[in-house]
């Protein structure tokens, strides 16, 4: 924090001299707040169970981070909101009916192994929340794919289990999906409001878009990663997702369903694990979209956003290194000069 100098004092300091108000804490807590609409929608559709699972993830994440720094006798960073955000995103990526130990194991892997053992915030190679979820999905394949049917009005305790829209699309095909939802408009409405089965925070597209709009207005994220991600998914779904051949698919189903909105706006844009160069962020988004659609259409899992982002996280340093921005005033070297 810069201390305000009195006018008659002469302060000698190193640059930068003018600082913005943005700090890690401020950005992290704003992102947490912008996820609030989606959390409220998840509690609305999945009942108190949603609050319980998300809360458990948050509390355990912050606690693990605090204990780790206490163990090392260092200053704790548990209060900067990043552990809170990891826990929140992990909770939003879990199905509603998981037993209590799943959030705990998920936070342990996400915070300790993925983030802190690599050096803490800013040094992690992968998105912690997504590694936590990938660990859980591979460890507990049955428990992690029990999807409760959403029943509105905050009271759902013992919901029936059902399949996610993407699961139905993969196993039974588009016609069956239409039978379940009635018509296309009802399907779109369900996906927009979040009245479908799925992970806690990913179902309601509108609530997530409100949160994303806040981040855009505050300029915490730019359009490059999310829009190239979503556009690639849309184009590929339109081109290869149809039953009747090329260019007959329905891009909207693929864009609105699954974790795409949540992943594209809140997890692919993570400052630490995505490229810093704008052009690189577009490549990052296109890669994410392509891998997502590859998994959704041809792979074993119905949903591929998580693995797509994790795979592209590996490539982020490579993308950064191969796309260097032009230095100010630098002249491009001609071939003759190079000789």
């Amino acid at each position: 924090m810069a201390t305000q100098a009195k006018s008659h004092e002469l302060i000698v300091s190193v640059s930068p001299h003018v600082r913005g108000k943005e700090t890690v804490e401020r950005i992290m807590w704003t992102v947490n707040l912008s996820l609030l609409p989606a959390v409220i929608m998840s509690i609305y559709y999945f009942g108190p169970r949603a609050a319980y699972v998300t809360g458990l993830c948050i509390v355990s994440s912050v606690l693990f981070e605090h204990l780790y720094w206490r163990f090392l006798d260092r200053k704790t960073t548990a209060g900067d909101g990043s552990a809170f955000l990891t826990g929140l995103l992990l909770g939003m990526n879990l199905p509603p009916s998981v037993p209590f130990y799943i959030p705990l194991i998920g936070s342990l892997v996400a915070i300790i192994i993925t983030k802190l053992l690599f050096g803490g915030l800013g040094y992690n190679v992968f998105n912690p929340a997504l590694i936590g979820r990938a660990f859980l999905l591979i460890s507990f394949p049955k428990l992690m794919t029990i999807w409760s049917e959403p029943t509105a009005k905050f009271i759902a305790m013992d919901a029936k289990t059902t399949a996610t829209p993407l699961g139905l699309l993969k196993e039974e095909g588009l016609t069956h999906l239409m039978e379940v939802f009635g018509s296309k408009t009802e399907l779109y409405q369900g996906l927009l409001w979040g009245n479908t089965a799925g992970s806690l925070g990913e179902t309601s597209a509108i609530a997530l878009l409100i949160g994303a709009a806040i981040l855009f207005i505050k300029r915490y994220i730019t359009w490059h990663t999310p829009f190239s991600f979503i556009a690639t998914v849309g184009v590929l779904a339109w081109a290869f997702g149809g039953d009747q051949g090329l260019f007959t698919g329905d891009p909207l189903i693929h864009i609105l369903s699954g974790g795409l909105i949540l992943g594209a706006f809140f997890m692919a844009t993570d400052y630490v694990t995505c490229p810093t160069v704008r052009k690189g962020q577009i490549i990052f988004g296109i890669g994410c979209g392509a891998i997502t659609m590859l998994i959704r259409l041809k792979g074993g899992f119905p949903e591929g956003v998580m693995f797509a982002i994790l795979l592209m996280n590996c490539f982020a340093p490579l993308i950064d290194r191969s796309i260097k921005p032009k230095m100010f005033g630098a002249v491009k070297e001609t071939k003759e000069q190079a000789k």
């Binding site: 194991i105 192994i113 660990f135 591979i138 460890s139 507990f140 428990l143």
Partner: protein, 208 residues
Amino acid sequence: MSLQPKSNWELIKNGMFGENTIFRMAISLCPSIAVTNGMKNGMALGIAVVFVQTMVNATISLMRNFIHPKIRIPIFMLVIAGYVTIIDLLMATYARPIYKEIGLYIQIIVAFASIFARAEVFASKNKVWSSICDGFGMGVGFLLAMLVISFFRELLGKGELFGYSIIAGNPLLIMILPAGGFLAVGLLMGFFNWVDMKYFGGKGASGV
């Protein structure tokens, strides 16, 4: 190798802890991930390595004055391959069920960096008895590492030890998959380095 000769017990201890194949030297990591999904397999491979390592060191040490330095590598290869064939055929005959699961890795002992390295840096320069102690220590170090890794992987991944059920409930399936092997080796390596730095005044893996 240090300059003054070490006692035999020191050589064995050095192989088991100070220069542990997997946790300190970080060589021969392939079997530590591939075979450690059960304690039975880990122990069988570890015992095979103890045998091969000890016998190879003894043989190379006996022959060290007759090996021309320019062709020492092929000769090491031949000696190692000979002992691996012996243990391979022995296990194929007398330990059929285990051999069916890890037979490929028994044959791959030929290419273990740890055995080759000890033949080159120790056995070809030292007397027979200390070479045997060194080989035995290195082999037991490998066996211990395999037992520790497979203990955690089998316990967490299947809830079993040696095939007997220990804990009920949902096991962490990832631990018996290859990804879990990398996790277990990495975390245990970090843990042993931490113990070494904290309690024995070592410098961790970078200071060996």
